[in-house]
């Protein structure tokens, strides 16, 4: 068995593939229902709804400025892994709609599924030294440097995003979206524990 304290390259690769795949599947569900979410992905979804551009390319471009911050504060390895995860997610989100479709999907059930899928995706990415870029890098940096819980920082950013969402989608859909963002942030706030998952 490999070193308990350090992931091998293959272990990190499978963790990042898991995270990007589950996050992309979550985005397919979210956009199928016309809902929004928080973080950088939420910003990209909102811009995608407002302009009609696809989520994938918008998400990829929004993340570009954050790599500099990532490289400066979190190191090149974290930045390279994050770039890979963001690239994979962007590509998969363009490809997935041709692979999977729903005949009907209850919005409440769909948004909880989205919350579990993206929550566990982010958890896997964090544990394998990556993220989905953007505000995630800022939140993770604050948790590691100042001890602020990443979950709470992300909730603050989400509050601003959701206020803007009222201008783009129906109020009913914003409220359903709120449930999804709550699930994502709860999954991370409860389970992202470096004292429990000790490998890096």
């Amino acid at each position: 068995m490999t070193d308990p304290e350090r992931h091998t390259l293959i272990e990190d690769a499978q963790g990042i593939v898991y995270g990007a795949t589950m996050a992309a599947f979550g985005i397919v569900i979210l956009t199928h229902l016309g809902l929004v979410t928080g973080q950088t992905a939420g910003l990209a979804v909102l811009i995608s709804y407002a302009t009609g551009w696809s989520f994938g390319p918008v998400f990829f471009v929004i993340n570009l400025p954050f790599y500099l911050l990532g490289a400066l504060r979190m190191g090149w390895q974290f930045t390279a892994k994050t770039f890979t995860a963001v690239g994979l997610l962007s590509g998969l989100s363009l490809w997935l709609p041709s692979q999977v479709s729903f005949a009907t999907l209850n919005p409440i059930v769909g948004v909880v599924l989205f919350g579990f899928l993206s929550g566990s995706a982010l958890l896997a990415l964090f544990r394998h030294g990556a993220s989905l870029g953007g505000i995630g890098i800022v939140a993770l940096m604050l948790q590691d440097r100042l001890g602020w819980r990443a979950g709470w920082v992300q909730l603050g950013f989400d509050a601003i995003l959701f206020t803007l969402a009222f201008a783009v989608i129906e109020a009913r859909l914003v409220l359903i979206s709120f449930l999804g963002a709550l699930v994502v942030n709860l999954v991370i706030a409860i389970n992202h524990r470096r004292d429990r998952y000790v490998a890096t």
Partner: protein
């Protein structure tokens, strides 16, 4: 923050609820695609196929006889927890098609997705002391009584399930099923590490 080495009851509940939801969605996909898989779920798929009875009912019925065995080996607490988990899982698989009706799904995408969903579900359940019940407790009992290794018994039973499936399923369905089962097994083999996830 809670004790790093022990999960609180609430933490276990959210972990097992996550596992049940992901497993239910995986089973919903599996039966929608007409795939089989290994162990208890695979046995239930075959029995449902042969008898024409609904899969969730068959799955729940198959897990019942092993509850008594679990009670004797692991105690009442474990058996009741397992009963609650399998009951919730069966119910969710039963109602999920009403809320999330799947459309066209490419089998080459569905197979690894099912593997990832089953993998993360099992990982979460194991880390939070949960169990989906069924055959595995029988293999542990067998090992204790006869010395026959539980891992070998598990592999052998999967070979038998896939051999039986080969008699009733088309060849391509069998190959996709095998791909899903391989992703599931590989995901667990890489990520189930008590030396990395230290809390119980």
């Amino acid at each position: 923050m809670t004790d790093p080495n022990r999960h609180s009851p609430l933490e276990d509940v959210q972990g097992i609820a996550f596992g049940v939801t992901m497993a239910a969605f995986g089973m919903h996909l599996l039966t929608h695609m007409g795939f089989v898989t290994g162990q208890t779920t695979g046995l239930a798929v075959l029995l449902a196929h042969m008898t024409g009875l609904p899969f969730p009912a068959v799955y729940f019925a198959v897990t019942l006889p092993f509850l008594g065995l679990g009670w004797r080996r692991m105690g009442a607490r474990f058996a009741l927890k397992t009963l609650a988990t399998t009951a919730a899982l069966s119910l969710l698989v039963m109602v999920l098609p009403r809320w999330a009706e799947l459309g066209r799904i490419e089998p080459l995408f569905a197979a690894p997705l099912i593997g990832l969903l089953f993998g993360i579900a099992a990982l979460a359940a194991i880390r939070h002391g949960g169990s989906f019940g069924g055959l595995s407790v029988l293999w542990i009992e067998l090992q204790d009584r006869t010395g026959f290794p539980a891992g070998h018994a598990q592999l052998l039973s999967d070979v038998l399930i896939f051999a039986a499936a080969a008699l009733i399923l088309p060849f391509d369905t069998l190959v996709y099923s095998f791909l899903g089962a391989a992703v599931f097994a590989l995901f667990l083999a890489i990520n189930h590490r008590r030396d990395r996830y230290v809390a119980v």
